[in-house]
Symmetry: D2
Subunit: 215 residues, 4 copies
């Protein structure tokens, strides 16, 4: 496919570009703070930039009339609304976390939660020392998915990209689900999956869970 | 409930007895190599003994007309057939592994297997140094469930009751499912779950997976 | 060797008895709340009982004139003093924790602590849900050994006998030391090691660290 | 300090450059396949390049009369000899693995090995799917350090930079040492440590173990 990226010089944009190229696809259009790069019309646009760029992204997408995958974080409620409006004209995948493994983790939690009445549950997350929030957003997602009060222990360790562990124990055994992110590559893979999902979809607003689990 | 146990003096039979009593139930009947113990008619019978005792167990169960939970290992094909025949008269739960956690593990594998095309998969199992077979039967069950050629690494370590780890990795992340048995208690819990399942069931032959996941 | 046990019917006393017998040694004398068992004079006495029994133990040991290994917990300062006095007449090993692995763990921490300036350190301990104190005494020992303020996360999980994990991380790597107790057997092994240590020792008061690391 | 790098555009050279600059030091000289960069005379030279460049490096170091830290892999026996000869004129640190954590790991193994007679030992290593050799060189170093026949299980998982786990188990407990590399940063830290070590050293040939553990 021929793809375009808003924020193609950023860390995540660049990671996505490299992965798509590795898979044999062609980077034909890009936009970054120092301007536009154009060689051909893209078949879809991926946006990993900043909330203030969204208006520009919407403009581009409308011109090209192509699907959008957007992973920009920190969008306002109005911005999400304008994306939903836009999704009447083109198919959109929006998510704050494109990790396939975390989606699978949550799916597993969703499966297990009805069988663990009376079990002890503990969540542990480990992240690099520079992370300021405690606990991590993903740990909170796991807890919400369990629909229970669950203690979360947060470890801050060197440069660890992100570990999440869920312990489930009855009196005879311990079942553990854990996820370890190795790099931004984990998220680029999820974007690639989304690209294959969105290309022939009808207009509409999709989330990454749809990409993973819908048919 | 009032329960009876064939093999109530054995290690597993005793563990079951203790757990049921802890939950407030009453041991009213037992059979072991030195004879029969009778105080009242049981509402169900649990058998953790030896294949050569099966005939006796069938006789008891027919007399009492109560459900049977049987975890005796090493039954012959004929013995399993005679249990199936018996299940036309009473409800039976039969399994070689009553661990709830392992059932959940397999359920998780079954869920995940359709999302991990192209991922690397590794199974590691650790057991006490006295275990003679390699890899463990449970590791083989996990592999079969994956329906793929998966390497299994077997560690033999001191007195470890039984660990199983499944690693799933794409290029950006590692998802891990692991199970650690602490003691025979893990299996007694599964027997207790089976007891609650079987008490009001229609005649039929059930396996532990039915107990866990059927309605 | 011919050994005696104070508290031989208790959980720990019985574990010690079984292990020593397995190693080919002979249980020749015992004392428990229902009285004394005597077949021969022991070559050493092991005490895993209660503080209120200590006076009786001292009396026995003086009569037999044999070494003492004592693992009774909760001794008062006076009781420890009377043991030290007694150690002028016979050799004594006293400890609240006879786990060989934990001693090795602490030895490792002692080695590592001078190389980890600027590293992030986290301790995690997991124990059964019935444990009331948080964090565990062993986790506190690890922290003290590090001579630093280190966060300790305590997980309460089913029936886990006792896990301790020490994470050490700089910006490029994570080094982890962990210990997992499987059963009381871990402690019985340490008592056995102490028995071999004490048999030909001069009078004196020894701790388990001496058994492990002195020549 | 003012430092120079042979191979400063390579992945490892660049990582070293970034780390030293982050610590406030100045990159004043460099050499790479497209030529020399010179702004000032360096106080020491670091070489992470290729064996065929060694002759050039020796020439530079002799001219500048400054210490050398060399991490180039695949040096021939003759090349190591010529470095030893050179070390009569300048101090040199040479190593194929500048990971501080792995050095500590080996130190720990060296400490533990005399206390684990009769224990079960297992080594597990996990690396990315592109790694061709099995087992890893580091796993072999751990095994050699133990001076015993120890089974090594090798897992090949996605993009894992490198995990090493050593399990030690007696019948009551499991002691585990594990190391997880997060990135090349782990090695750059070791180079930095070597730089501080070498600056005021006498002429001589040092290895990374000297840097870590000598006074």
């Amino acid at each position: 496919m021929k793809f375009g990226i808003v924020g193609y010089k950023g860390r995540m944009g660049n990671e996505v570009k490299l992965l798509f190229e590795e898979k044999g696809h062609e980077f034909v259009w890009g936009y970054d703070k120092d301007g536009e790069y154009f060689s051909q019309t893209p078949e879809l646009i991926i946006d990993f930039s900043l909330p203030e760029v969204l208006e520009k992204t919407i403009e581009f997408v409308k011109n090209f009339k192509v699907p959008l995958i957007i992973g920009t974080t920190g969008l306002s409620e109005e911005q999400l609304q304008s994306l939903k409006l836009l999704s009447q004209e083109i198919p959109i995948v929006q998510s704050y976390n494109f990790s396939i493994g975390i989606q699978l983790f949550l799916k597993v939690v969703d499966l297990l939660k009805e069988y663990i009445d009376g079990w002890d549950i503990e969540i542990v997350e480990a992240h690099h020392r520079f992370k300021k929030d405690k606990p991590s957003g993903t740990a909170k997602m796991i807890k919400e998915c369990l629909e229970k009060e669950v203690p979360i222990s947060s470890l801050r360790l060197g440069n660890v990209p992100g570990d999440h562990i869920l312990y489930l124990a009855n009196l005879g055994e311990v079942l553990t689900i854990s996820h370890r992110a190795l790099s931004r590559r984990a998220f680029a893979d999820g974007v690639y999956k989304s690209a294959n999902f969105i290309l022939n979809k009808e207009n509409g607003f999709y989330i990454f869970e749809d990409v993973m689990f819908e048919n």
